[in-house]
Amino acid sequence: MLKRLAGCIREYKTASILSPVIVMLEVVLECILPFMTAELVNEIQGNCDMNVLLRYALLLVLMAVLSLTCGALAGHFCATASCGFAKNLRKDLFYNVQRFSFSNIDKFSTSSLVTRLTTDVANVQMAYMMLVRTAFRSPFMMIFSFIMAFYMGGKMAWVFVVVMPILAFGLLMIARKAMPIFRKVFRKYDNLNNSVQENIQGMRVVKAFVREEREGEKFAAASEDVAADFTRAEKILALNNPLMQFCLHIVMLVVIFFGSQLVISSNSTALTVGQLSALLTYGMQILMSLMMLSMIFVMLTMSAESARRIVEVLDEGSDIVNPENPRYEVADGSLDFENVSFKYSKKAEQYALQEINLHIRSGQTVGIIGGTGSSKTTLIQLISRLYDVSEGSVKVGGVDVREYDVETLRNQVAVVLQKNVLFAGTIKENLRWGNLEATDEELIHACKLACAHDFISQFPDGYDTHIDQGGTNVSGGQKQRLCIARALLKKPKVLILDDSTSAVDTHTDAMIRKAFREEIPGTTKLIIAQRISSVEDADQIIVMHGGRIDDVGTHAELLARNAIYQEVYTSQNKGGAEDGEE
């Protein structure tokens, strides 16, 4: 996991290394400073002349300026290193998601991916910042202060050797006790927030069933639970401060009590007054460093969960990859399914598709009919390699889809998805997803084919009308037609409509199919539909049932012999017809 993360440092390696190096310089200066001031104090005591004082002063100010420069530089490099690391993490995450296949996408929800890109990366960034700055600073500071303390204070410095293990042990115990609680409660906290989100999204249901109070009680209980755990953990952490103070106090007492005696009994030879106060400064520095170390320890463990979640996405390899020598040419729009079986994951018990054999000639129009859960969508997703077959082979233009360059294949096989999305931007921008170089004439032509031109022209801004995120400002039927136009702009050899005209009224629906027949006769058209009227004029109609092909035939043939088709037909035409409006 660490290796994976470290791989994202890249161009920020220099800053990441410079930062701790400069920090160490800073530490050296910080440790010499008290030593020098101790000398200065002794000089004052000795009633020396002003020149000596000023020389010391100059030296000290110089050191302070140097230390400031180091500190500022370290801060600068540290900011660059940590923010750059975070930037690369986000980039790698996003790029990897772009590589995802459909089955990869199915594994992660949108909100969990967004959290990983924001909150989790921010946590890791914080931890990294601590790491390059404080994690080197503290141990170094501790060692250096120790040396200085022994150098100056001699025997007096032994007090640190006694106190330090006490503090270290105490801090370790506190961290070890608190961490498991924290880990547990963070998960609970996530769940709590998830339930809030659920509540907000389902507010109409909550209000319709008058469940506001119950939801409030449920939330209160969960929130209390989280608070209780947090309090428990923080109460343990609250021991940190008093423990630290206790150790400081001991140092203070020992230094004042024994130190002062030492100064007197040795007549300032073993220890001077200036060194006495310097010893206190070093003591402070040593203990503070320990405290910081324990904080880093806590921080790192806390961010470990975030790191794990990030690596989980980074490690998710796409299961659909280009072959070694891909084909960049699709001969025609013929489709063949040969003994195709498919299941969504290797572990799944049931096959979503079984023993599919199907042959469609280039330019044919094919309808697909079947109940909820009969795997119609699954069938067509295999054609543009949105998923790979488990067994058998799917061929486009007589060649197995796995032999094509994925981008070539997907550009030649255009799918209008059932759950379709428009993106924030103008209508033109949305349409150009199909073809970045499309001219305005091409856009208009595609929209005319999809019966979208008329309503677009009625908007005040026409093709420059702004679409809100998710396409909320156009109606369902309008959205579907825009999505069809977008797919048409690819000029594909195979066009697949997955229930893409369900919100379009039957008349317009028929107009679109007519346009298809007349304007793009060479393109193979696959149409999944709920209503019979959408498919009844197709060259062949496939009836799906429970992941198998139940029957294939024309409208007349199926109406004569297929029970499922007959039932669907009657349910929609009992003495009349079906559907209307958008």
Partner: protein, 644 residues
Amino acid sequence: MAKNNMRPPIKVPKGTLMRVIRQLFKDYPVHLTVVVVCLLITAVSSTMPAIFMGRTVTLIEQALAAIAGGTAPAAALESVFGGIVQIAVTLLCIYAVSLTCSFTYNRLMAIVTQGFLNKMRQRMFKGMQKLPIRYFDSNHTGDIMSYYTNDIDTLRQLVSQSLPNMITAMVVIVMVVSIMLYYSVWMTLLVFLGVIAMTFVTKKVGGNSARYFVRQQQSVGKMEGFVEEIMNGQKVVQVFCHEEESKKDFDRLNEQLFKDAESANRFANMLMPILSNIGNVLYVAVAILGGALMILGVPNLSFSGLPLTLAAVVPFLNMTKQFTGNISQISQQVNAVVMAQAGAARLFALMDEQPETDEGYVALVNCREEDGKIIECKERTGMWAWKHPHQADGSVTYTKLAGDVVLDHVDFGYVPEKIVLHDVTLYAEPGQKVAFVGATGAGKTTITNLINRFYDIADGKILYDVININKIKKADLRRSLGMVLQDTNLFTGTVMENIRYGKLDATDEECIAAAKLANADNFIRRLPDGYNTMLTANGANLSQGQRQLLSIARAAVADPPVMIMDEATSSIDTRTEALVQQGMDRLMKGRTVFIIAHRLSTVRNSDVIMVLEQGRIIERGNHEKLIAEKGKYYQLYTGAFELE
């Protein structure tokens, strides 16, 4: 309804911080009083060692002077030993007290911080439950969520660290300044000079940092929005091979965020070394000044009137250190306080939102009929009545719930400027099945939003069993209306729990019966754990059609007097839909049902069909009548056969 695309910029009203503190003290008066007292004691006692250090140095100087005068070191030590012991013992006592206080307040603050956050969360959530649907329609879920995640987190830092730190630092500064004045005014003035420099730097550097932190927040928001949109449409991105384009867009936003974050952190990181080194320089300057004053023999000006000696200079130097340390402490909290203020301002804005009002007084009760009289009862009888108290004479009358709904010349718009329903009048007689058909945006769903008072009408009136619905308690009104909504929302929990949401005390058998009625039993039994299968993330493991069947079961178990089904079967294939309809017809026999659909097969067997166009009812009647009229409905209906 248009949603606000960006979170509004933060406007922090004056007194936000005070409001947090007031609320804090209101919630934990005893805890906090103890905390403040403990803080004061620890702060004061933390300045004591400096004084005792000074005394020790005085003793040492005495002894050293004696040695210089010829006394043996041992004898000299003997003479001051008593003083040293006294200092040590006094310090020990002070430490014991301060340690106890420190322990107490740290523990208490753990309780207060988490308790306060808990209380705030609950206040927010409970307040949020009372907000009108309008609020949820006009705000993004993500934006509301960030109250619970980002904004409340800023309070944690404020309460647990910033406030106690600032109190301590302030007390220490006051103490230190008075002690410094006690020793030497000249040197204190020099320290003040240093403080001015530090404040200046904090303002400059800290201000820069805060400005970039705000920018960083905005960049995060922008990137979050972009990522959310792209990830939501990830499958479309793949289908159109649009990966490279979205990578380009992402890189641009990512780079911006990096720049802002880098600047913000750079300034924040620099503040501490700069301040601590100003502190160092100040320390040196004070030492030099002290030395100079002593060497040159300048008369000392101090509150104690003592002359300037090493015994004054050494503690003074220590105090300078403490002083600058505390100033740095405060400056470190500047960012946290600025962010917390912004966070708190947003939280308070949420809590101050106007809740849904309810001035209704007519209640829904179970009842039974005896000798033609309606008698209220506790148990469920399948009969309901409206209990209508009359204020004038204190009497109570009962009206039997029949399901008679009348919309009388109703006008309505989600925003006053844009009326979406014009002069709608309709009658739903008890036991009727009333259907609405029409295009998206024709106002079908809006009508149901008005009947259950998710929104209130602008003009006209709605009568329910001849009672104006404004007089009915909202909760009772909604309880009387079973709703199956267009967007199915299931909750985390088992399938059984989700069905039981409709009626909390329903037995397993009742839930299963409802599932059977909704034709959901079949697929539920095929799920890995049957009725005990856990549903997560709004039932992501189910198909849209299955989710719809479950939400119908959920409404069915409530067994309501009136039912509204808004596109309840839109994703269910027509064969299954017919079966569901049979079940629902059985359940709702003799009760009023409203159906909204764009699929005509769904509404065909309704008693009355209303055809809506642009907020007006343009046709009404049953299927046969409308067909005979050869109007819009006829056109829609026969559209299927008009295939050129």
